[in-house]
Symmetry: none
Amino acid sequence: MLEARLEQAQLLKKVVDAIKDLVQDCNFDCNDSGIALQAMDNSHVALVSMMLKSESFSPFRCDRNIALGINLTSLQKVLRCAQNEDILTLKAEDAPDVVNMQFESADNDRLSEYDIKLMDIDQEHLGIPDTEYAAEISMPSSEFQRICRDLTALSESVSIECTKEGVKFACSGDIGSGSVTLRSHTDVDKPEKNIDIRLTEPVALTFSLKYLVNFCKASGLSDSVKLCLSSEVPLLVEYALSNNSYLRFYLAPKIGDEE
Amino acid sequence: MLEARLEQAQLLKKVVDAIKDLVQDCNFDCNDSGIALQAMDNSHVALVSMMLKSESFSPFRCDRNIALGINLTSLQKVLRCAQNEDILTLKAEDAPDVVNMQFESADNDRLSEYDIKLMDIDQEHLGIPDTEYAAEISMPSSEFQRICRDLTALSESVSIECTKEGVKFACSGDIGSGSVTLRSHTDVDKPEKNIDIRLTEPVALTFSLKYLVNFCKASGLSDSVKLCLSSEVPLLVEYALSNNSYLRFYLAPKIGDEE
DNA sequence: CCCGCCACCC
DNA sequence: GGGTGGCGGG
């Protein structure tokens, strides 16, 4: 059986808010190391990979591998019944028909309980290779969100160009063109504002802004986001969570005329 | 060429926010004294006159007269990509196709750059006579905004009646009638709350509230607003900016049955 | 793509 | 309490 207790319901609320426009139904794969989710969006351009390590729960117990096939719209509806500060407990049997979710207010004077029906979902298992990227950029997640939103006013695509000088987000469209350039920046007093660029090789790729804006819904999960790029492979957008848990998005670059 | 650097992008952001519902496309006329804009609204009832003196920029350089014909919706989209505290630099060649706008974060780790395509706009040049007004009323801009917003609940028009007793904003409509009367008021401790009425002759005129509410979008530019009235001439609503720069709106009075 | 509503911050 | 930014709906 599975029993997993999360101190703050808002973690799961925000994760689901951030991915449910990309994925309708998917398995939450539970085993003794935690709860994982991998799914491609309908158009197979983007991929979501979530890992909530067992250490992010207390307690966490999962004796056997269990796949919980869940409709994310249903899950979101139920999670909206939890308050951000509630303690959330997930429970499931070994061959479950439902997943049970409990929300407790911190002061213990309220207990809500929901059962969500599960579905069988064909697991297209996705091997994601562990890539060494040509460029890794860490920046405030709010800044990345702002850049993507700003450039949406001009175009549907953005080129991300990373050199040793910095990283440049650029696009052009009917009303004109625009770019935002960031340089590395370290401020020990405001580490949450740091911009860190690690480069082994210059790289320039073009991506759909619509997807990037969508990924940025995860900004509330982490002050910082990491972008990893290499030529001709999908961009990785990673929101690191506590205890090595994470929410990652992959996005295939646009190629040739698509740009 | 033009090169004009504004310490705070929010000045231009707010100016454009305040006028873009009145005017779609217009020329920014640049010369060595600064950047000016004059345009009538589509219905020719209202007129906008902006003057940003060269002293409001540092540095300011403009060798020759340049008219930058800009679609204000496009400009607003681009200005939304600037943060309020960014340093804004406008650049244009002598016979430009585009105007270049740069936004720098104060700490210099972000540089955004946009080019907006220009358009040819027929300049209907507007001579605005320098009028001696029968009444000049200065008041907190937030108070004027509040009065206009409040009275909108009752009517589409407001009469502004200025006597030596004070100034009365009055209207009536289906659900009833209402008025707000202000007297002169000076408080040396709170000069931003002062109400100053200078009168050479009593005057009473009626105006469209819709336009006045629109003008009040400029309230964020200045703590104070000045209303200037004389019989049978347009009302002047002036927001004074630093360095003798200003944003002025003119509004023709309603006459006879229109009221 | 734009407008209105809701939540968070000042 | 007001204003601004983000999210959802038309």
